[in-house]
């Protein structure tokens, strides 16, 4: 007998309860505190802040807790909250050259002014499960304070730029206001500021895969990691009614400057080109992937063939947002009875016609 799809409200309320219970897990165990997530899951927090486009470690930790650790869901929660926030001020451009550097490495020179600074990285660990972490309570060794790092630390690429070996980073004519992709739709062809904004918010997995593809031949970019730096950068605003700058705090950033194959023409001598990546927190994988994809999306501007999907703006930028992608992929869960019924009716008609036709043919034989 036909069971009406009534009672939707009740069913939904019940599913909320089940979700909350699943999130909490075994109630005999201590509940996670936001400070624990913020301090001990800092890379997950950084990803949620970055792709959620909101630098707030506590809110990102809350989103991660609410999403039971699902990064994409946490990003979605943070984004939906962010959209309701008023815009109080726009920060002045950040100066990553003035960064309080905690890590800075270059893959292009054996030594650089200021030296290679490894900082907190898993790069040189052996990836063996550390069973001492299985027991809580073990005290971590406090890092000893070494000589203070030189500050500010010059950027490696500046040396090349002074020689004219790498393209200059010049402010575009008129220094136009960059677009805000959370306020105005992405339109094509997308300017580099719009592209970089999209890539900064882009899903890390998507960027990583695309970046990897550029290295394996789906684009031609021949990259070198010119410089990767991580540390704290001051943020300041200059309210027009006050007319002077106010320091409002500092955020952790990772910046990657890739040096890529040179371009040149009859009129311009060959120069290395740049790919740029920037992320919140300690997020080197994301910043490097972003720099590779940024460079491959510059194909048109640099007069290169655009044969690979990684060079096609629409392909890369339209599919980079994991909140959009996750929603649309999963919307297939929603009822589609009506359209499916339409397809059923159609396919039955077509099959009936085919059957009639073959029957007629048999009769003619």
């Amino acid at each position: 007998m036909y069971v009406a799809v009534k009672g939707g409200e009740q069913a939904i309320a019940r599913s909320w309860d089940l979700l909350a219970a699943s999130r909490r897990g075994d109630p005999r165990l201590l509940e996670l505190e936001l400070a624990q997530i913020r301090e001990q899951m800092r890379l997950a927090v950084a990803r949620v802040m970055l792709e959620g486009s909101l630098y707030d470690e506590n809110l990102a930790a809350l989103a991660l807790k609410q999403a039971a650790g699902d990064a994409v869901e946490a990003i979605f929660l943070l984004r939906a909250f962010r959209t309701t926030l008023p815009r109080l001020a726009t920060s002045l451009p950040l100066d990553t050259g003035a960064m309080r550097v905690r890590r800075r490495i270059s893959g292009t020179f054996k030594d650089v002014p200021g030296g290679q600074i490894l900082g907190p990285t898993a790069d040189y660990t052996q990836r063996l499960l550390d069973f001492s972490l299985a027991q809580s309570g073990a005290e971590a060794d406090c890092a000893e304070d070494h000589d203070p790092l030189p500050h500010p630390l010059p950027n490696v690429l500046d040396t090349l730029a002074r020689e004219g070996l790498i393209e200059a980073e010049t402010i575009p004519v008129g220094d136009p206001e960059p677009p805000d992709l959370t306020r105005s739709p992405l339109m094509f062809p997308a300017s580099r500021p719009a592209r970089l904004q999209n890539l900064a918010r882009a899903d890390e997995g998507w960027l990583l895969g695309l970046a990897y593809a550029t290295q394996r031949g789906y684009a031609e970019s021949h990259p070198f990691a010119g410089e990767i730096r991580m540390g704290e950068v001051g943020v300041s605003v200059c309210p027009p009614e006050l007319g002077f700058e106010i320091d409002i705090g500092a955020i952790t950033l990772t910046e990657c400057q890739m040096i890529n194959q040179f371009a040149g023409s009859k009129t311009a001598p060959p120069q290395f080109t740049r790919g740029y990546g920037l992320s919140f927190g300690e997020a080197e994988r994301k910043a490097m992937a972003m720099a590779l994809v940024d460079r491959s999306l510059r194909a048109e501007e640099l007069g290169e063939d655009q044969l690979a999907p990684t060079q096609q703006q629409e392909f890369v930028l339209y599919h980079s947002d994991n909140v959009e992608a996750s929603g649309f992929v999963q919307h297939l869960k929603l009822p589609h009875y009506v359209d499916f019924q339409a397809e059923l009716a159609l396919i039955r008609t077509l099959r009936q016609q085919a059957a009639d036709l073959s029957q007629q043919e048999t009769r003619h034989d």
Partner: protein, 284 residues
């Protein structure tokens, strides 16, 4: 009536965002069928689940509106329940399931069977606003095709369908030409509903949140479903009537009732079906 949550602005969106959306809607009404890009906001519901429709509804809903929300023609499907509850919480306006009583109807995949009248507004949730998208992936290209009204590609598709199947093999989201100018997607409604768009007294608004486009069909605008002279447009018909209300002219859902594959056909429009039954009970 649900109590409105005062922590949020009326309709969830801030007033500047609503103004931006309404400017977009005015443009859309002025150029029927043209897809207006807009600064779609991130909503507390997933993309693909009606964020475009929700934003449009939020931008035009007023305190005196009566809201109906349907999905698959029914008021009680989970997503419709969810969206109706959302608006109840952030606006506190009256909601209804009765088509005739509603001033504003947000829908996914159907147009109600009860004829709409002047003053009513339909808001459609649109997953893919570009009717040419499956034929041409690039947005830059499709915008050019619209600008130059070059719709040969769509006709090629219809030709090819007839050559292969003897029919146009599109049963929902059937492309329409609005006001003789813009090719548009009617959203994934079954083609059964397409004739209801033509010269409707109601205002039809379409919102695609993820794709950041909105468009409109103003009241009494000509909406033509593409076809050939010798293969005219036709809607779905069933050899059955609704098993619940006996209606023979409504769109039917097919329900599998047991493991032996027995089926039942019932109205997809739950309000219409209920009204028909009430009418019969009254007469009995």
């Amino acid at each position: 009536m649900t109590e409105r949550q005062w922590q949020y602005n009326f309709g969830f969106l801030d007033e500047n965002t609503k103004r931006m959306l309404r400017r977009g809607l005015l443009k859309a009404v002025a150029i029927p069928g043209y897809q207006v890009p807009f600064g779609s906001r991130e909503m507390p519901l997933p993309y693909g689940w009606g964020t475009g429709g929700i934003q449009l509804t939020a931008s035009i809903i007023g305190k005196s509106d009566v809201l109906k929300v349907i999905d698959q023609g029914a008021d009680d499907t989970t997503n419709a329940v969810n969206i109706r509850r959302f608006f109840a919480r952030v606006t506190g306006v009256a909601t209804t399931t009765r088509t005739a009583d509603a001033t504003l109807i947000q829908t996914r995949h159907r147009i109600p069977e009860t004829a709409l009248c002047e003053g009513q507004i339909m808001v459609f949730q649109v997953p893919e606003p570009e009717p040419l998208r499956t034929l041409e992936a690039s947005e830059v290209e499709t915008r050019k095709l619209h600008a130059h009204q070059e719709y040969g590609l769509m006709h090629v598709k219809l030709y090819e369908d007839i050559a292969r199947f003897g029919h146009v093999a599109t049963s929902y989201d059937y492309p329409v030409l609005v006001n003789g100018r813009y090719l548009a997607s009617p959203s994934p409604i079954p083609k059964f509903d397409n004739p209801k768009l033509d010269r409707s007294p109601a205002l039809m608004l379409f919102g695609a949140g993820r794709e950041k486009r909105l468009y409109a069909i103003p009241p009494y605008t000509a909406v033509e479903s593409l076809a050939f002279e010798d293969h005219p447009f036709a809607v779905q018909r069933w050899p059955h009537v609704c098993a619940l209300c006996g209606s023979g002219d409504s769109y039917l859902d097919e329900i599998i009732t047991d493991d032996a594959g027995h089926r039942l056909f019932v109205c997809s429009d739950s309000d219409y079906c209920q009204a028909q039954r009430t009418l019969q009970e009254g007469m009995a």
